[in-house]
């Protein structure tokens, strides 16, 4: 095993990513190369040093190699090279000094991630882990709930990185769908302790019912049945939603994606382009947003204001920006022949979830929208309530409350309670002030009383009085009435007790 160190420049990046199978003048014109140039450059995560490790055995590629490339007549290599990036400048002497110093954190502190270069003629970008950039130019943040911690071993040194693995589609063993699912599985395997198949194994597991054209290998892509089947093969279930609403009212998709993404669940977005072709990407985060909703009869959710999601798009790069156009299209970073961004419609949303998460976003949304309507008709607030509806692991919920600036009584009311592993939250917010949370049991049945707790943050007397009066006045509607929020008598009494 050997290594080479280069100063980070565009030319050196080209040399580092060269696999001897694609001419350099072709490589530099590829979308991925341009994307990495921007991502790693001064406007991105600002790489200063490149370290090339060769040979490198990539487990994901090795499995694909044994499934396909090993029996090709052409001699494809079985090992890859791994290109590491660091945010500080150093040479060989400094590198080896830091490498052998067990107490030094120098390499870990400036580590930006790696790109595996596969020895293939077309798909060269293998498993890639890159640091995310957190703060936008305008000072607002980016959130990547689907990232997880990885430990990268470099010549015996363990480097830690928070990211989500990415790779370019291999048009032979795994088209975009298999690669998007593979990225999503990297997070779900950590979240739910499920297995992690390689891209070619995902393609195999997806099966081929021949409802469509093509063969399993070489793979022309997966249809929705196959995508859902691949997800279920790991012991997860597919939350599959296909609706015309996504194409005419993109808010409905934003709400859904955000609600699951908050819990770290990557969302698979099935996009449809104007030419009728389909594409699958993995949503892994979203950009911070400003809330500017006028008071209206229709419910407002925080997620309605999201301007950008971040996605692993195997045709573009990791954490690619997906913004929205005025006519409910999603603007991809794909350029057309004139260099303009291509728009697509959201065709379907597929979320790999743990089977015990039975209550869906829509079940919680239905309840919250009714409560919002009661408040609106009663004219309880002068300003619009913003609802934050999301799924969260109960321990994460307790941790955020515990670390918040809420008073001790609120913290105690939450952290001492027993909740299911995953809970749904319906949080009422006005002007960045959290008012209260309704907590919903994700394991319950949708037709039951699945609201299990009420956490009051805003304890101002006048607010409590107004809310209490409203709850008492419309008790029968709140408790159990056709079209009501169905809180149940016992739970209703708990809310009243909290407000008194």
């Amino acid at each position: 095993m050997s290594y080479e160190i280069f100063e980070y420049t565009d030319d050196n990046l080209k040399i580092a990513l060269d696999n001897q199978r694609i001419p350099l003048n072709v490589l530099e014109k590829r979308k991925h190369f341009k994307y990495f140039q921007n991502y790693l450059g001064p406007d991105g995560i600002v790489a200063k040093t490149i370290l090339v490790e060769e040979p490198y055995i990539s487990k994901a590629y090795l499995i694909d190699y044994s499934n396909y490339y090993s029996i090709c007549f052409q001699d494809y290599k079985r090992d890859c090279k791994r290109v590491h990036f660091f945010g500080k400048s150093f040479d060989d002497i400094k590198f080896e000094k830091e490498l052998y110093d067990s107490k030094s954190n120098f390499l870990n502190d400036c580590y930006l991630g790696y790109i595996v270069v596969k020895p293939l003629p077309d798909s060269i970008i293998g498993p890639t882990l890159l640091k995310t950039y957190e703060v936008r130019n305008d000072g607002m943040e980016r959130f990547y709930p689907s990232c997880r911690e990885y430990k990268v071993n470099l010549f015996g040194k363990v480097l830690k990185l928070k990211s989500l693995v990415y790779q370019e589609q291999d048009t032979v063993v795994a088209a975009c769908a298999s690669v998007a699912i593979w990225s999503a599985f990297h997070k779900t395997s950590k979240l739910f302790d499920t297995n992690l198949p390689s891209p070619s194994e995902i393609t195999k597991r997806a099966g081929n019912l021949f409802l469509n054209y093509g063969r399993t290998f070489p793979n022309p892509g997966l249809d929705i049945t196959q995508i859902c089947k691949a997800i279920e093969s790991t012991g997860l279930v597919s939350e599959y939603i296909i609706s015309d609403y996504f194409q005419s009212n993109v808010k409905s998709a934003k709400r859904l994606i955000y609600a699951y993404n908050r819990a770290g669940l990557p969302t698979l977005l099935f996009l449809k382009f104007a030419d009728g072709l389909g594409h699958l990407i993995t949503i892994n985060g979203y950009s911070d947003f400003t809330v500017e909703n006028e008071k209206s009869e229709e419910i407002s959710l925080l997620a309605d204001n999201i301007e950008k999601f971040y996605a692993h798009d195997d045709q573009v790069g990791p954490f690619a920006k997906m913004s929205f156009t005025g006519n409910d299209d999603i603007q991809t970073p794909w350029p057309d022949s004139n260099g303009n961004a291509i728009n697509a419609k959201i065709y379907a949303v597929i979320i790999p979830v743990y089977p015990k998460i039975r209550i869906k976003f829509q079940d919680v949304f239905d309840k919250v929208s009714l409560i919002d309507q009661i408040f609106f008709k009663s004219n309880l607030f002068k300003l619009e309530i913003e609802w934050d509806v999301f799924l969260i692991e109960s321990n994460d919920y307790k941790r955020t409350i515990s670390e918040s600036e809420n008073n001790t009584s609120v913290k105690k009311a939450v952290v001492m309670k027993t909740y299911p592993k995953f809970i749904w939250i319906g949080r009422a917010i006005i002007e960045n002030q959290n008012l209260f949370d309704f907590i919903y049991d994700s394991t319950d049945i949708a037709s039951g009383y699945f609201c299990i707790d009420f956490v009051l943050y805003y304890k101002q007397q006048k607010f409590k009085e107004n809310l209490l009066e409203n709850f008492v006045r419309y008790k029968s509607i709140y408790v159990d009435h056709l079209g009501g929020p169905k809180l149940g008598e016992d739970f209703y009494n708990k809310v009243i007790q909290e407000l008194q």
């Binding site: 088209a175 975009c176 769908a177 998007a180 409802l211 469509n212 054209y213 793979n219 022309p220 892509g221 997966l222 249809d223 929705i224 049945t225 599959y240 939603i241 296909i242 609706s243 015309d244 609403y245 409905s252 449809k272 009728g276 072709l277 389909g278 594409h279 419910i299 045709q315 065709y347 829509q362 949304f365 239905d366 929208s369 009714l370 309507q373 009661i374 008709k377 009663s378 004219n379 309880l380 607030f381 002068k382 300003l383 006005i430 002007e431 002030q433 805003y458 101002q460 006048k462 607010f463 107004n466 009066e469 409203n470 006045r473 419309y474 509607i477 009435h481 056709l482 079209g483 009501g484």
Partner: protein, 94 residues
């Protein structure tokens, strides 16, 4: 305490000032200074609450009617969840 302060500040009430002077101890003063921002933020943060007399006492029947409308909208969204032949024919493989 707040009442006396307001009487002194806004009405220039001399009697209130002498009562305030007699009652203020060092500890009170510190406590008072600490509570000013909380008091002010309370005034600000209750701005979104509707005054009691402006709260609508809408009848249960009217409210149920409004809720039925919301429920219908939500149901329509649920009804739109359907997979057709096109969904089965399109592949994600661009």
């Amino acid at each position: 305490m707040y009442l006396y302060c307001f009487m002194v500040i806004f009405a220039g009430n001399k009697e209130a000032f002498s009562i305030l002077k007699a009652r203020i101890k060092c500890y009170d003063l510190i406590q008072f200074i600490i509570t000013i921002p909380i008091f002010m933020s309370n005034i600000h943060s209750t701005n979104f609450l509707t005054a009691k007399n402006q709260i609508n006492r809408v009848s249960e029947a009217d409210l149920l009617k409004a809720l039925e409308e919301v429920k219908t909208n939500n149901d329509n969204f649920r009804k739109s969840f359907k997979s057709d032949n096109e969904a089965m024919s399109i592949k994600a493989g661009r």
